[in-house]
């Protein structure tokens, strides 16, 4: 599913295994500003490795990182799982969920796909806007020939066009 989603929106896909190396990989993706989404299966939370990873994750806050959890609200163990998650695994991130942390809102395979897609895009947009706002390493598209051709046709290339009401005095 993750591969399909990233392929559809033209991104590269890389799977990160959920093991003791996960934290280091998340740190790396954060540094490289790579949108990263954790897909967490509640039935795996009692696994000691996964439990440790989730506990560690609760202490980290990365703007490039989100989490999606397929949540079967009708499951007899749903309440127990939530209690376990919110008291032992991720008490901080469940009490005040950061952006793009979908703990219990995904109740069907269809929602899993759409929420994962939306999560990837929201993170990507946040990364783009952050880089743009930082005013740093942004390349500009500048071409003198194109600019002159546009100028010759009466198109200003030095200021952004202004869309607004034409006052009566300006109206033809």
């Amino acid at each position: 599913m993750a591969q399909q989603i990233t392929g559809e929106i033209g991104l590269q896909y890389e799977e990160i295994p959920c093991n003791a190396e996960l934290h280091a990989r998340l740190k790396e993706t954060n540094k490289k500003r790579v949108p990263t989404v954790l897909i967490s299966d509640p039935s795996s939370w009692t696994n000691p490795t996964i439990k440790k990873v989730m506990e560690d994750y609760d202490d980290k806050y990365y703007l490039n990182c989100g989490i999606v959890v397929p949540w079967d609200v009708s499951s007899p163990s749903a309440d127990d799982r939530w209690r376990y998650l919110s008291t032992e695994l991720c008490p901080q991130k469940t009490r005040v969920p950061p952006l793009n942390h979908e703990w219990t809102s995904i109740s069907s395979p269809g929602l899993l796909k759409t929420k994962t897609l939306a999560t990837v895009e929201e993170i990507r947009m946040r990364m783009l806007n952050n880089i743009a706002a930082s005013g740093g390493d942004i390349a500009r598209a500048e071409d003198d020939t194109l600019a002159e051709a546009a100028q010759a046709r009466g198109i200003s290339v030095h200021t952004a066009p202004i869309v607004g009401n034409i006052s009566k005095s300006e109206a033809p």
């Binding site: 559809e8 929106i9 796909k113 743009a132 942004i138 390349a139 500009r140 020939t145």
Partner: protein, 138 residues
Amino acid sequence: MPSQAAAGKIITFYSYKGGTGRSMAVANVAWLLASRGRRVLAIDWDLEAPGLHRYFEPFLTDKSLENSTGLIDFALEFAAAAVSRGRTQTQPDWYLDFANILAHATPVTWEFPKSGVLHLVPAGRQDAAYAVRVNSFD
């Protein structure tokens, strides 16, 4: 790079509110021009409520546009390239690969007389994240 003589004429349809028949007018004028042998590119700039593709739906391969990119995807790809650290910034023409709007055009499949053609650039891929892209793009 097209020559000046090959440059097309840009016609913008604008209105202060929705529901005035703007998209219908665009679709009809585009079709009439193509029927007269013109090469027409219709672009849906109504990012908040795109609907131009619905007029051409019977003639589109991807009718729901779930797999077709458009204007917002064009802008996003360009922005992503502009902030990409991997790109060689010393190349003055780095943007050319990302400035080709025709890469996002989808053909309206109809045999117009006099070699007329009509292509559509939709507002963007109509999937679950379309609203995210439009609302978050600064």
